[in-house]
Symmetry: C2
């Protein structure tokens, strides 16, 4: 904290903390937030922890009109011995700056970002919940604030971090969900911003998500925008399939988000000597594998759920049930291991966990 002087203003009006057994994702926010400003010529300046509250922006701020914004997502966990730990925060700062670069936003020094997060968590340490399965979701983000309607990179930005305590994603164990294979809409395409964690990707996904929900499916499986046949992601998660003993996930191709859980799952599987392939995977290959009884498991990976088993795929009026709609053995093993490492209940052979 010594190098970058982060000023801290504590709230005089702390909020009651929500019941840890009834937390809803992204609904409750802690007492404080972190803000740092950027001005062209001056760089990032005035890092500060302040009481959580509304921000005031000019109605012409570029974020409202041209979507120049990026974000990250990670979690803090309270351990059994009452420490607070993060999972691979360095990976978030790396991706934050890859996203910044794609969106023509100035880089944020990872060291400052980490110190900012430490300072904020330190002030709101009591907001890290301790009930089983709960965690503190951390949302760092950058928004363009220059009040100017020309289509050009902003000269002003805010880097912010907000915190929300979130409940157990699975209250009664892993719950496989049915997924609709999307054939009308696409999420992203090579040459676009699909591999950046930026607002527009999520805005573009809402319509398809609503359509899938109307059909009774939890999420969509996205196909590529060029050939409309290669698997990309599931909802806002990366996706893995176990086919005849080999785990296959779409290769990073420029339109797929470089998930940190994805990367961790791959490292874990390889350490277990399970055959893993990162490559193009077509929906036709999946259908064929299912027909031959070789599509053994399927799951999404992301920060919120860690592992989200897929119980069935709905494709062209056909329903492909996977593993009888039950959570697969490997899916469970991956979930148990990663969440065990995250909560320091298991050894951390990869050095993924950082105490704050």
């Amino acid at each position: 904290m010594s190098k970058h002087t982060i000023s801290i203003t504590k709230t005089t009006n702390p909020k009651p903390r929500p019941d840890e057994n009834n937390l809803v994702f992204g609904k409750y926010y802690s007492d404080h937030m972190f803000i740092m400003d950027y001005d062209a010529g001056q760089g990032w300046h005035d890092p500060r922890v302040v009481p959580y509250g509304n921000i005031s922006l000019d109605p012409a701020a570029k974020v409202f009109h041209y979507g120049q914004t990026i974000f990250e997502g990670l979690k803090a966990y309270r351990t059994d011995d009452n420490r607070v730990v993060l999972f691979r925060p360095d990976e978030n700062w790396k991706r934050l700056n890859r996203s910044n670069d794609r969106l023509s936003i100035p880089a944020v020094d990872p060291e400052i970002a980490f110190e900012a997060l430490c300072a904020l968590i330190d002030v709101d340490r009591e907001w890290v919940p301790s009930a089983p399965g709960t965690s503190l979701y951390i949302r760092p983000y950058v928004i363009a604030t220059e009040p100017q309607l020309g289509v050009s990179p902003s000269t002003k930005y805010m880097f912010m971090i907000i915190l929300c305590p979130v409940g157990a994603y699975y209250s009664e164990g892993l719950n496989p969900v049915p997924i609709h294979v999307e054939s009308e809409y696409v999420r992203a395409v090579k040459g676009g911003v699909g591999n950046a964690k930026t607002a527009g990707n999520y805005a573009a996904s809402l319509k398809a998500q609503e359509g899938a929900a109307a059909l009774g499916y939890s999420q969509v499986l996205w196909l590529d925008g060029v050939h409309r046949k290669y698997i990309e992601e599931v909802g806002s998660m990366n996706v893995f399939f176990k086919i005849n003993g080999t785990v296959v996930t779409p290769a990073l191709n420029g339109s797929i988000l470089e998930g940190i859980t994805r990367k961790s799952v791959l490292q874990l599987l390889r350490s277990w000597n399970i055959p893993v392939e990162e490559r193009e995977l077509s929906i036709d290959e999946l259908v064929e594998a299912h027909r031959n009884g070789k599509l053994e498991e399927a799951f999404g990976t992301g920060t919120a759920a860690v592992i989200s088993p897929i119980g069935a795929l709905h494709y062209q009026d056909e329903k492909l049930t996977i593993n009888e709609g039950k959570t697969g053995e490997l899916s469970s093993r991956v979930y148990d291991t990663i969440t065990g490492i995250q909560r320091t209940e298991l050894p951390d052979p990869f050095g993924w966990v950082v105490e704050v």
Copy 2:
């Protein structure tokens, strides 16, 4: 104004108006703005004209994180006899709601939108500049304001209109610009949000625009995301080419914005009995036409510039100069006619102009 009661609160602190001969696009804002709120279950409510000023939003507002926002752009002109007129505002409200639909945002009643704009312009009538070539740029937009980090459509929105006086786009006549044909990045793809006027499309374009500028080009010519060879748009404008006497523009294919100037240019050309084709147009066809001396003119169309002549295309280390880098005869005729109609200096055979 009778049907929808728009409350009006006038500023007690009017700003000095900027020098009409030194207006910069999107930099100065008028004294007032229009706001209307949406809440699920209640619909759009509380339409109001208030003094222009910062808006206060929760840092978790969905617009910052998931880009659920759309906008429009149109202009008001002061006529020689001191009236204020708009150009085809109905088309803006139609497109606004097509964009809203794509982004899962509730529709805005076009009648309310028009009344809102009339009420706002009425209060800020003095802000419509009168110097030659100037106009009042109008920016209606919707932002998602619910403070909730789940990826789902917002339950709260704001519809706003802000106004900025803008200068003559061309101070010394139409000025042809050199354009870089973009081969690395793409703007949009079929199945995505390219035909919606939403923030993410503009965020995605910044990086390519910076690259073109570094090479000395004003803008990029976008190729399609699937085949990487069909022309889509130029910068944030639609694009037209005169090839051997026929005017060709890319057909609306789902990834191209349905420009109102584009539509007007097409109507005008057809009324002049000039052959017009809306179809797929590949960069190879353009290069071939140029080689054969048949690429006669090229221009972009949009609300800001109306017509922006293209003097040269930079493609694969080759520079294709068009019409000796000068503004074409047809480009000038289209520009003069549309701007003449917009300013009521020419007859309005299509009924495009609306007095407010």
